[in-house]
């Protein structure tokens, strides 16, 4: 039995060690500390899978039902996999990228790490919200301080103000729940949902929807996406796309599907229609991009809109598919952003048209790029496929319109193949003659991510079995 609190304590110790580095130079470098902390956490998670997770609870202020309580809920485990394992790979990219004020960077890095884990395991809504906000704040600073020199701050501010509105609406939902059920404890609330008058349920659901639509994001609340993805440092972008957007999906499943299911079922047709519209709209947007990082940012939103379709259909099958898609997309988009970062470093440009023929110089990178692109195109055997399949099957039963999202997959085939053609195929330019292939460290990170992409793709039951309680 692994108590969930250990998953939080270990990174906390890591943060403490990094802080102690200000006073002592003998401690190992922050990268090493973070890496070992996360490795320990991943191992703990693995042990937890074997022996089960124990819950933890400590009362802080009973009058507002505020307790530090951690407990796994019906979709925790797959997300925990994402949160404990993925940052290991992100770290390997961050090591190269971050040269300034490392200590502070890794402090924030671990802060995002621990807060994402905590959001997934916390059963008290206040704790949930606290860590939800800390994750946002840490990424605000990561984007603002280590991002693009000119536009990073502005992008970070935009990100903060947008997501803060989403957070506030989420807070409003929580307060409304507390108001009518008298508790911030998730399981208690779930058992007392009948106490909510139906209009409160509707209000809460729409407030929640705003949160989710900002966080995932879904048209028309995606205004912050491009700037913050584009001007963040790569590790920040990876966190944003692979973790923060998943928080939105997580909240949607946990509350929208878990608590307000009645409302969800009433509104699923318009919601699915919105998701389909977003998918096609954003697929078109992405096909208009010539910049690889921008293209990836939009394509990341495309997959989140598929997730949105899946969850809004309110069918177990589609929700399970959304979970798989979110997990798998986390790994895939990290891989792709990693490649875009490496390409940017080596070639000095993000424009795909300016690259070309890199396959002859960088076979390993090409392999992983093609692998990642095929994975996101939903080639069977790789992780997106079972997710997409379940989403389409589940949501088609509700609304035939969801099949139109497949058209978006078609468009993404188009732009992804364009990327392969422009970046990898063709004659190599003279300027790129001296390019080096992936370093050992990068290869390890890529293999690590690919392993999980393949694992989930081949054995989706690994994830599905953990969400049987759906």
């Amino acid at each position: 039995m692994i108590n969930l609190i250990f998953l939080l304590i270990v990174p906390a110790i890591g943060m403490l060690l990094i802080m102690l580095r200000w006073f002592s130079n003998k401690l190992p470098s922050p990268e090493v500390i973070s890496l070992s902390v996360m490795a320990v956490d991943a191992v703990l998670f693995g042990l937890g899978l074997l022996f089960g997770f124990g819950s933890f609870s400590a009362n802080i202020n009973p009058s507002i039902s505020f307790s530090f309580s951690l407990q796994e809920n019906f979709i925790t485990i797959p997300f925990l996999l994402l949160a404990t394992v993925l940052p290991l790979a992100i770290l390997l990219f961050a090591v190269k990228e971050v040269k300034e004020s490392k200590n502070v960077f890794y402090l924030f890095y671990l802060l995002v790490y621990v807060s994402v884990i905590s959001v997934f395991v916390s059963s008290n809504l206040i704790i949930f919200f606290v860590f939800w906000e800390i994750a946002v704040l840490s990424l605000f600073f990561i984007t603002g301080l280590w991002g693009d020199r000119e536009k990073g701050k502005r992008a970070a501010m935009k990100f903060l103000v947008f997501t803060q509105f989403g957070s506030l609406t989420l807070l409003a939902v929580f307060i409304l729940l507390f108001l009518y059920t008298g508790s911030f404890n998730f399981s208690v609330i779930a058992s007392r949902m009948s106490l909510l008058p139906s209009y409160i349920e509707y209000i809460s659901f729409f407030l929640l929807l705003i949160t989710v639509m900002i966080k995932m994001p879904i048209f028309p609340l995606h205004g912050w996406l491009l700037d913050s993805y584009y001007y963040s440092p790569s590790s920040g972008t990876m966190f944003l796309s692979s973790m923060l957007s998943k928080l939105g999906g997580f909240a949607f499943i946990l509350f929208g599907f878990g608590l307000f299911r009645n409302v969800l079922l009433n509104f699923r047709l318009p919601l699915i229609a919105l998701g389909v519209f977003t998918a096609i709209y954003i697929a078109f947007t992405a096909s208009g991009q010539t910049d690889f990082k921008k293209l990836l940012s939009y394509s990341s939103m495309f997959y989140m809109s598929l997730v949105f379709i899946g969850i809004s259909s309110g069918v177990n099958l589609a929700v399970a598919g959304s979970v798989i898609l979110m997990i798998s997309h986390g790994f895939i988009i990290t891989l792709l952003f990693g490649i875009s970062y490496i390409l940017m470093q080596r070639t000095g440009t993000n424009e795909t048209a300016n690259m070309g023929g890199l396959m002859s110089k960088m076979p390993a990178l090409s392999f992983f790029l093609i692998f990642g692109i095929f994975a996101s195109l939903g080639v069977p055997g790789l992780s997106n496929f079972p997710g997409e399949l379940l989403i389409f099957i589940g949501s088609y039963a509700i609304a035939g319109i969801s099949l139109f999202a497949i058209f978006g997959v078609m468009l993404s085939t188009n732009y992804y193949l364009r990327v392969i053609k422009q970046v990898l195929f063709g004659q190599i330019k003279k300027a790129f003659a001296g390019l080096k292939d992936l370093s050992k460290q990068e290869t390890i990170a890529m293999c690590f991510l690919s392993f999980f992409i393949l694992l989930i793709g081949l054995f989706p039951s690994l994830i599905l079995n953990t969400i049987g309680g759906l």
Binding site: I60, S101, N103, V104, L168, I175
Partner: protein
């Protein structure tokens, strides 16, 4: 045991100080430091007595459910602000000790007053000593600030006493326990005028205009006191009158209060976002905090009042922290927003406290600012003001923007690492930093009072 209340302690302390000062003069001792220690000890003792025995309960002053807590946190904050003030190496006159103690005494009495007259007198006591405090440090345009403060303060006092007299004309009594609503025109006008009069103290729009100027021109550590303890007193007096004494539970009063609160929140948010000087931003933020507390009072329910009291505590601590921390930076001439990058070089701990204080003001978890807002929204929701909360969210977004525009200029974290070769820290700075640490910790621990 009957007299072991903080008010008596404070009063005795004042008398003691005067006596000692007299003795000191007559014995020609030039050392004044021990006088400061006595003052600090008096404040500390007052805190202990408040925690142990509660407040005094006599005819004109009586306890209400929240008063022990309110007096407690006021004393707590005043104690640390005072420590911060005297930790400067500068020569402080003994007058500052005395006026500070008077101000603290006045603010605790405001909380306890159970009669309009005693309320007025307590406010007057607080105000007069505050004018002195503002002018005590003749820095820059302290005079302008003090004069503005004084003139507007006097006007507000006049308005207040005018309102009180109108109320007396209507109700025939000034005691809160026997006050009741009568439908007599002058009485109603009197009530409205009292709102305005107290609005001055608690910087509600449109009676807030003195605040930015005064806050800016006085020394930041004094501003810390005015913007936290003294403002808290004004707000708590509002609670006392409008919730306990005059249960004017008409939906219209609520609407009036709510609109005042909303205007306060929005106007201050917009005004703050266009300021260039850090202190002015903080001043407007302090005004907007008052608006938040007032919106919670406005719903006039027990839940709202509890939320308001907790929120007042939360923002008072946070305000005290940011102004105290800013005091250290102001000494090094950090005035404008774009210069905020340098503050970490001045004091690392100061910068972090400033940072956390601002987080609390902006309502980010896990600070008590967040829990305060949580309670306020809770109170508003339970009274059914859904749309209002959404409206407030927009103001909060604007405030997020300006708070973080300070922080993002600040590179708080970035700079901390870079000043490897900073000059050795002075002892007094250590003390100041220690004070900030304690106050900052209270931002996290305070949640147990929620």
């Amino acid at each position: 045991m009957e007299y072991l209340n903080p008010q008596y302690v404070l009063f005795a302390g004042i008398l003691l100080l005067i006596l000692v000062d007299f003795l000191r003069h007559s014995m020609k001792i030039n050392k004044k430091t021990f006088m400061h220690y006595i003052t600090a000890a008096v404040l500390g003792l007052a805190i202990v007595f408040d925690a142990l025995y509660g407040n005094m309960d006599i005819h004109l002053f009586s306890e209400v459910p929240y008063s022990q807590f309110a007096v407690g946190f006021m004393l707590f904050i005043s104690f640390f602000i005072y420590l911060f003030i005297i930790s400067d190496k500068n020569e402080h006159s003994v007058a500052i000790d005395i006026s500070y103690l008077f101000a603290v005494l006045g603010s605790t009495l405001v909380v306890l007053s159970s009669n309009l007259l005693s309320l007025f007198l307590s406010i007057e006591l607080l105000s007069i000593s505050s004018y002195a405090l503002v002018y005590m440090y003749k820095s820059g345009n302290a005079l302008e600030g003090a004069v503005k403060y004084l003139s507007t303060g006097i006007i507000s006092m006049v308005i207040l006493i005018f309102g009180i007299s109108l109320i007396y004309a209507g109700a025939g009594t000034l005691s809160f326990s026997s006050l009741h609503v009568v439908s007599y025109l002058p009485f109603i006008a009197g009530v409205a005028i009292v709102i305005a009069g107290l609005g001055f103290k608690s910087t509600l729009v449109p009676f807030h205009m003195w605040a930015p100027d005064t806050y800016e021109s006085s020394k930041s550590s004094v501003t810390a006191f005015i913007s936290s303890v003294s403002k808290a007193a004004g707000l708590i007096a509002m609670i006392r009158i409008f919730f306990f004494a005059l249960p004017v539970s008409s939906s219209f009063v609520t609407a009036l209060f709510l609109s005042i609160a909303l205007i306060t929140i929005f106007l201050s948010a917009f005004l703050a976002s266009v300021q260039e000087r850090i202190k002015r931003i903080l001043a407007y933020s302090s005004i907007s905090q008052a608006g938040f507390a007032f919106i919670s009072i406005a719903v006039l329910t027990t839940r709202g009042i509890n939320a308001a009291v907790f929120y007042i505590f939360a923002f008072a601590v946070a305000d005290a922290i940011v102004f105290l921390a800013y005091d250290m930076f102001e000494d090094k001439n950090v005035i404008y927003k774009k210069e905020s990058g340098e503050i970490a070089a001045i004091s690392r701990i100061g910068a972090i406290s400033f940072f956390i204080g601002i987080l609390s003001l902006a309502g980010f978890p896990p600070t008590i600012g967040f829990f305060g807002k949580l309670l306020i929204f809770y109170a508003l929701f339970s009274s059914g003001y859904f749309a209002l909360v959404i409206l407030v969210f927009f103001a909060l977004l604007v405030s997020t923007f300006y708070y973080f525009s300070i922080l993002s200029e600040m590179h708080v974290v970035d700079k901390i690492m870079k000043n490897k070769n900073r000059s050795p820290i002075k002892k007094e700075q250590r003390v100041k930093e220690a004070i900030l640490i304690v106050l900052t910790l209270s931002l996290f621990v305070g949640v147990i009072f929620a």
